[in-house]
């Protein structure tokens, strides 16, 4: 039995090399699979390809003009060149045009996960040439005083990744595109503040913004701290979904959280808690020593040995008087994973029951 056309391995030529592709794959995806770095600004692999920035244009033999590789599907026998001098020149011009509408290009990486995309490309193409000077587009919204998201639209390049991630990933539809052309501006319903919109402050718009126009206000508090940003991969403890996150630290200070784009459970998504609710870790009000309640209701600072003895006595007392099913352990979502592990071990091994839970079991 002979294979049908779709079953046969399909091939195309990519920068002079014959490569195979899967049905439905775009030219951009094929190129990425072959480690070819086609530049993009409006692209986020999680979103439907938009075709706005046009940096990903490639030449296809027989086509009159270059095509956007993010929206063009590979076809049998296509001959594609991803980086001819003509295409590279067009990309440089496009980047110079983008730079000309922007207040600044190099921004603090604490602003967001993707915030270095523009500056990286500008550097790669040597595009900061001062050409095409003219009016700046976008206007920062300093009136929106929410504690999480900085809406610094002077840096906006109208790629609409924020609008699309809000709709396609989060399903909030909290933001949209207002006006048109060079006057385009990101807006909410009736151009109000985020807190009055259907925004849930999940922060995904911040993390997909390629210029830092949307920025993580909490992380930016650490902008002036000395030291490099270190990222530590872990799992968000707040609920049972298991979102992968990168904790950002400078020295011994935790400065922010970024979702892991390759997190198997979340693919770059977080909720407001996982994204922004970490202040308790370094909060001044946080307990640093055990406290023992006194008969008059007040608390007294005590040492760890004393505290542990007191607690152990209490557990032993309960066990003897009321049996092993009288103890139920609930771990806090704000405790580290190691504490959650210890808690269930303690209950299971210590009391021989499964009477254990977590406060944020969702």
């Amino acid at each position: 039995m002979s294979a049908t056309a779709t079953e046969r391995q399909q091939t195309m030529t990519l920068d002079g090399q014959e490569v195979t592709f899967a049905q439905g794959e775009t030219l951009y995806e094929v190129a990425r699979r072959h480690q070819i770095q086609v530049p993009t600004l409006c692209y986020d692999p999680r979103l439907e390809a938009f075709g706005g920035c046009r940096l990903c244009v490639v030449e296809v033999r027989g086509a009159k003009t270059p095509v956007a590789s993010c929206t063009t599907r590979a076809a049998q026998g296509m001959v594609v060149s991803t980086a001819t001098p003509a295409v590279e020149k067009l990309r440089q011009t496009l980047l110079e045009m983008v730079v000309s509408e922007n207040r600044e290009v190099a921004v603090n990486p604490l602003r967001g996960f993707a915030s270095q995309e523009l500056t990286t490309l500008v550097h790669r193409y040597g595009a900061q040439t001062g050409r095409f000077q003219g009016k700046h587009s976008g206007k920062s919204n300093s009136a929106d005083l929410n504690p999480f998201i900085l809406r610094d639209y002077d840096l906006c390049i109208s790629c609409y990744r924020c609008v699309r991630v809000c709709a396609e990933q989060e399903g909030d539809y909290a933001i949209s595109v207002m006006h048109r052309g060079f006057r385009t501006q990101i807006t909410t319903e009736f151009n109000g503040n985020l807190k009055d919109s259907s925004c849930t402050f999940c922060g995904q718009c911040v993390q997909t913004c390629p210029t830092g126009a949307l920025a993580d206000k909490k992380a930016l508090r650490g902008a002036d701290l000395p030291g490099e940003i270190q990222k530590t991969r872990t799992i968000c403890p707040y609920c049972g979904v298991g979102c992968s996150v990168d904790i950002m630290t400078k020295g011994d200070r935790m400065v922010g959280i970024q979702p892991a784009m390759d997190g198997p459970a979340n693919q770059g998504a977080l909720c407001v808690k996982g994204q922004f609710a970490f202040d308790f870790v370094q909060h001044d009000d946080r307990l640093k020593t055990p406290l023992l309640r006194q008969p008059d209701g007040s608390f007294k600072e005590i040492g760890w040995d004393e505290a542990l003895d007191f607690a152990a006595d209490g557990f032993r007392n309960a066990l003897e008087k009321h049996g092993r099913r009288s103890v139920y352990g609930i771990a806090s979502g704000r405790a580290p994973h190691e504490a959650a592990y210890s808690m269930q071990k303690f209950i299971r091994a210590g009391f021989g029951t499964h009477y254990v839970d977590n406060c944020s079991r969702a």
Binding site: F50, V57, A68, L94, M97, S158, V177, F182, S198
Partner: protein, 561 residues
């Protein structure tokens, strides 16, 4: 009559196809603006997220979000600027008048839109409502297709239309021909898209007929927004039934049962004419269920735009109809397979559809024979600007441009010479000097680096500042750029700034290089025809008027830095 409530307005349209624009217009007409209450009602009724709806509404220039009283809009389009449009706007500004881009009345400037009425005149005293001009009898004595009967009395009524063979083609097709035979005749006639893209109509219809998925749609693109184009208005105002008949025939040929006319906002009289014609056709059994007592059903829904040139681009138009943000769509897939609501759709221009009944009645050979020098058929040309007899002319494709300009339209005003003409409205940029020795067909005009497109030609005589003309053209494209793709959004803005003066390098060669580089990026990488075409304006200015450009850039040296 009591005003309809929010619920009544939403309920009236909610279950109709393509309800959003109709609902918004109904609210806007009731209140004079779109209140937040109205938008909330629309959002809930049509299940469109409120932020998205708000953003989409701000895209359209004719929707107001604040109570603003009756609005006057004065055309300050590229032709009307030659005819006192800016002065009229100034005179009417105490009454709250605002400007609008070319409103398609370039044969009789200056149009002023007052509510749902178009007035024309060049001063406050002469402003009055007037029907749009009929095309003059063919000055070359050539046989016509679309305009052959348009000058007959009562042509816009069903009775008048039928007097000279109206709906005979439909009757013949439904009773004697298979859909494939209809497609065959249109293919054989070599009719091609008259909206400017020139795609063969027969091939488009065949693709829709062959595409899987139902229901299929016919969309008549009546969003005639190209400055200097007013031919579709003439057809719809004076011969509306020919468009309807063309649409039903397209439906029969492709297996589509629903049709939409997407009419630009600035044609309110045309809206009423089409509305009336649709009712007449329905009453006459020519639209609706069981057309001409046969088994074919076809409905036509009339929808108005709201002031956005980009909605003439078919992807934007379809998004606009569907109630989405009117950005162009990525192609492929094309509308023939993924059009209205992602189903097979033929998007055809008014002129294309209006040709169809004539072709079916008189045959493909007849139609092909109307052209000259091996070109098939005719093209409507909207001629305006510095010319004695502006208006719509139906020319045999292949007619020399100069025959049209001088023999048909009387040439320039006395003592003047023609300095330049635009092609494709503004989208083809300028032709000047020897490059005006073209014939009116795509191969000839493309040979000079431009294109015929939708067939708008604006004449500039030797009294005009061509840098200024180029600036005004580019400013139009900047105002109408949708903002989806970077090259067009930024490029139209930067080119406008450079043509206005006061921006760009002071050195001529650096200035020129910037303008050329922006143009090259726009042509090569823009997502739709707007951005690809806009640099024709700047590049043709550089090509034909290097002295004027040199002067323009030199003037930068005298400015304060």
């Amino acid at each position: 009559m009591p005003k309809p409530t929010n619920q009544e307005i939403v309920a009236r349209w909610r279950d109709q196809p393509a309800p959003l624009l109709a609902v918004l217009h109904a609210f806007h007409e009731r209140d004079g603006f779109l209140s937040s209450d109205a938008l909330d009602g629309v959002s809930k009724g049509l299940k469109i997220p409120i932020a998205e709806l708000y953003g989409t509404v701000t895209f359209y220039h004719h929707f107001s979000l604040q109570p603003s009283g009756p609005t006057l809009r004065v055309c300050t389009g590229n032709v009307c600027r030659l005819r006192g449009g800016l002065e009229l706007l100034e005179a009417l500004s105490p009454k709250g008048a605002k400007s609008m881009p070319c409103a398609g009345r370039c044969d009789e400037p200056v149009p002023v839109l007052s509510g749902s009425e178009s007035l024309v005149g060049t001063s406050i005293d002469t402003l009055r409502a007037k029907p749009s001009p009929l095309p003059a009898p063919n000055p070359g004595g050539y046989a016509e297709c679309i305009f052959a009967h348009i000058r007959e009395p009562d042509r816009s009524t069903l009775a008048g239309y039928r007097r000279t063979g109206g709906y005979e083609a439909l009757s013949k097709a439904l009773r004697e021909m298979t859909p494939a035979q209809v497609v065959g005749i249109i293919t054989e006639s070599k009719l091609a898209g008259r909206g400017g893209a020139g795609f063969p109509t027969g091939a488009k219809w065949k693709a829709v007929a062959d595409a899987p998925g139902h229901p299929k749609s016919i969309v008549c693109n009546a969003d005639e927004g190209e400055p200097g184009c007013f031919k579709d208005r003439a057809i719809m105002d004076h011969d509306p039934h020919t468009v309807l008949e063309g649409m039903v025939l397209a439906g029969y040929a492709t297996g589509a049962e629903r049709g939409f006319i997407y009419l630009r906002y600035e044609y309110p009289e045309t809206f009423r004419t089409l509305e009336r014609a649709i009712i007449e056709a329905q009453a006459g059994g020519l639209l609706g269920r069981g057309i001409l007592d046969g088994g074919f059903n076809f409905e036509i829904h009339l929808r108005r735009g709201a002031g956005a040139y980009i909605c003439g681009e078919e992807g934007s138009l379809l998004n606009s109809l569907e109630g989405k943000h009117p950005f162009p769509r990525n192609k492929p897939p094309f509308p023939v397979t993924h059009g209205f609501e992602n189903l097979p759709t033929a998007v055809n221009n008014v002129e294309t559809l209006a040709s169809v009944p004539h072709i079916l009645r008189q045959g493909a050979t007849w139609y092909r024979g109307l052209g000259r020098n091996g070109h098939a058929g005719t093209k409507l040309i909207s001629l305006s600007g510095d010319i004695r007899r502006p208006g719509n002319y139906e020319v045999p494709i292949g007619l020399p441009l100069k025959t049209l300009l001088f023999d048909w339209a009387g040439g320039p005003y006395s003592g003047r010479t023609i300095q330049a003409v635009t092609m494709a409205g503004l989208s083809g940029g300028f032709l000047a000097g020897d490059a005006m020795e073209v014939t009116l067909d795509e191969p000839s005009i493309r040979g000079k680096g431009s294109f015929l497109g939708a067939g708008g030609i604006i004449v500039f005589d030797d009294s005009r500042d061509m840098v200024r003309a180029a600036h005004d053209a580019m400013e139009f494209f900047a105002d109408e750029s949708c903002g989806k793709c970077f090259p067009c959004r930024i490029g139209t803005q930067r080119l406008t700034e450079r043509l206005a003066g006061g921006a760009g390098p002071r050195d001529l060669s650096a200035w020129t290089e910037e303008v050329r580089d922006i143009g090259a990026a726009m042509r090569a990488t823009s997502a739709c025809g707007l951005g690809m075409a806009a640099p024709f304006v700047s590049d043709s200015l550089l090509q034909f008027f290097p002295e004027a450009v040199r002067f323009h850039v030199a003037a930068r040296h005298t400015e304060k830095p």
